[in-house]
Symmetry: C2
Subunit: 468 residues, 2 copies
């Protein structure tokens, strides 16, 4: 049921855009330009009384003149005219409205009244509203990008991360989404959550076949009971990672003036998240970094990690992090130890440190491939953290050979997190892009991928317990 009413925000067949059509960096013109740039295949109806044509499209003086009931309306106008526009949208038969306009509950008491007014109109006509005070939604699979802020985007990679935030922080104008290689299934800014909220999105994304992991930022929860139930249901289907802003008293105070959110005590959220099986993360970087691993890699079947490294010193941070995040250092089987020792005696332990061998081995890529194949085929190993050293001699050719090695390893069905380090950032970034495009999550530190694997193992154990 929720899915049906939320779907028009992400999968509309027709969109009306009401607002300024001036060719500038903010407004309806930008939203329409984004839709065209991303090849949105549906109908687009620009609505503005002062224009004849924009971007080669007929402009309608009012939503009343639009010849069909549209799936989605995007409103980017001053706040005071919004209530009237909603009424007109209802008459049109529109299913969903994104209200980008600000000046509502986040502003002052008068704004809050105005917001209540639009909620009342919408409820009466069963239109769903996202916002106000939102940059809207994106669905890379269907060329949907509603944001009215200019970006330098041409494409967002389609992927498995469903990403929502109660703030412009999830907007395309706030995170360089185009420069990420792991891809997004859906992106949504809740804004003031006057109607559509985190629970609606949890329900929608839990059912969404493109979404394999839900990454969510919230400032508050409006209905605790419903949140607990929907979050629990969602977390049984796929990992749900949440970052909650306003942990401190001062942070909570600031929330109120931001989106009008009234946040409760942080420990209440903590307990609720735990009860619902939600993975709470502490900062935005972790939210996306952990989601990347969930989005690209399979879940581990257990918590035993193997580490393949070129730096003994770095591996120690890996071990410390693994232990702190509930992983065990895998005890390699006798057979594995024997096979590794045959390759080179100094490899026969976990962490498998290939450094000394790599100095004398004729083909380092083969050394990597064989080491990782032996390690990942061990039944005592559930997941692996792999250290790649970007030498000053790597070429694009070598990068693609490295990717091929990892593709071969996929057959073991065990998640891998990769730390790339080296001498120059540009070539490290190139290698990371190659690997992530092919589905292998890369990090420029060794702590984050191991935290991510630890969290994945914990989530996986929780699921297994449920299904026992």
């Amino acid at each position: 049921m929720t899915r049906n009413t939320i779907a028009p925000f992400f999968e509309p067949k027709s969109i009306a855009v009401i607002g300024s059509l001036r060719e500038t960096w903010f407004g309806g013109y930008v939203s329409i330009r984004h839709l065209l740039l991303f090849s949105f295949p549906g109908k687009i109806y620009p609505v503005n009384p002062s224009y004849g044509k924009v971007l080669d499209r007929e402009v309608y003086p009012s939503i009343k003149e639009v010849p069909e009931a549209v799936d989605l309306v995007i409103i980017i106008t001053p706040a005071q005219v919004v209530p009237e526009l909603i009424t007109e949208c209802a008459e049109n038969g529109a299913k969903a409205i994104i209200i980008t306009s600000d000046g509502f509950a986040e502003r002052d008491e008068k704004g809050a009244e105005l917001q209540q007014e639009i909620v009342d109109i919408a409820r009466h006509s069963s239109i769903r509203i996202l916002g106000p005070n939102t940059v809207g939604t994106a669905n890379p699979a269907t060329g949907l990008v509603t944001t009215p802020y200019a970006t330098r985007y041409e494409k967002i990679r389609r992927g498995a991360v469903g990403f929502c935030a109660q703030s412009g922080l999830a907007g395309l104008q706030a995170i360089p989404l185009q420069d990420t290689q792991y891809g997004f299934s859906k992106v949504c800014d809740f804004g003031n959550k006057c109607d559509v909220d985190e629970c609606d999105l949890l329900e929608y994304l839990a059912e969404d076949p493109e979404t394999r992991v839900i990454a969510m930022h919230i400032e508050d929860v409006k209905d605790g009971q419903r949140f607990l139930e929907t979050a629990k249901e969602a977390a049984r289907k796929k990992p749900v990672l949440i970052i909650k802003a306003g942990k401190t008293k001062e942070g909570k105070k600031a929330l109120k003036s931001h989106t009008g959110a009234l946040a409760g005590e942080d420990q209440v959220y903590d307990a609720a998240f735990k009860q619902a099986g939600i993975i709470r993360v502490q900062n935005f970087e972790e939210l996306l970094d952990f989601s990347k691993l969930f989005g690209l890699q399979p879940l581990p079947r257990g918590n035993r990690i193997a580490i393949v490294t070129t730096t003994g010193g770095g591996a120690i941070f890996g071990i410390d992090t693994a232990m702190e995040y509930g992983l065990n250092i895998a005890e390699l089987s006798a057979d594995t130890i024997e096979r590794l020792a045959k390759l080179s005696p100094s490899l026969a332990a976990n962490p498998v440190d290939i450094f000394t061998t790599s100095l004398v081995f004729e083909d380092v890529l083969r050394l990597y491939r064989e080491t990782m194949q032996i390690v990942l085929s061990d039944q005592n190993v559930d997941c692996a953290a792999i250290v790649l050293y970007e030498t000053p001699f790597t070429t694009l050719q070598l990068h693609s050979e490295i990717v091929e090695v990892f593709k071969e390893l996929r057959r073991f069905g065990k998640p891998m997190g990769i730390w790339v380090y080296g001498t120059r950032l540009p070539s490290m970034r190139e290698l990371a892009i190659c690997l992530e495009k092919s589905g292998f999550p890369v990090y420029f530190d060794f702590i984050t991928p191991i935290k991510a694997l630890g969290i994945a193992a914990k989530y996986s154990a929780g699921l297994q317990k449920l299904h026992q």
Copy 2:
């Protein structure tokens, strides 16, 4: 005294390099090439019995043939010949030796005996030894780069961060030092610490006028009492940040096989660091990210932070972090509030959110400049976290105008940390490079700069207490 015996590792006038001179990616050839590339101005003596010339330099068949007593010798040979070489170095009158060779205490019992042998020889002749099992040192100010691993470097920026690690992790081959803009004063890998250790470096860097902050990675401490005393002394002179590997039982076990380090209980280290006034950090990224702020910015006089932001949602994470790291959200003075309100009513609170105003203000750069000038001139403000939004319209011209704005703010003598966010990573990186080159630390998240400011305020308060 220590300073005198350690200085040759960083400020040598002459260097002998003993090892393979094959043109490959590892060995004496690479060390010499690095010295030439970085324009090391002193004498370089390649030593190898099998070569006549290398890189246009005369090769000496043995250190015995080198015509002067050298300040520094770099040994990159198989372990077993090292003791004999040390004896020869002593005869030469060399002051310091970097032993890059591995196969000592980190390998096995036999290696440990070999290591003891070289220590005995060196002590007898008062030569100081760094290593074995080290990539050596770097001093950007004097063109000194001893690492025998090929890098793609041509230059390392001279700066205020003295960076040491008990592992190749501080080597130029492990951190892309050339791509950092804040600069390093000295870089050192301790290796097995058979002689020169963390205490020697603390003493040396505490006295080093180029070093404003000491960033150190350690796996163990050999002499607890001396460490406490030297660390305390160093921390009175400049901030000392330390990351300690091997927090967990499993991590400690791995340490032993890495550099032969025998680490004690983690809480003992924790207590010692606290007693000595050392700032303990939890990962490598923080070690350098925090040092960057200490290296580029003045110390705050108090703990009251102002936040200037373009995102209300982002600012809340800033507030939470500030509170968690001992900062207070500055209460702006009545005069400041009045001046901000005059610029625009929505600016009159801390965090100062310029978003709404920026949508209508004719010159956003002027808005930034005036807002920040008003805020930083407030006597109730000790430091500032500033959010910069890299719009899709910024140009290199605008980047340099932004840098000029920040340069003007320097006169307030208050530390600033900057969060850059935006739509595209490449232009965000460009802006960050421009700012850091001019001395303003940039981060791509809002947590890290505020943590760094919090830590700086705490360090500053400690210093003030000492001087009362």
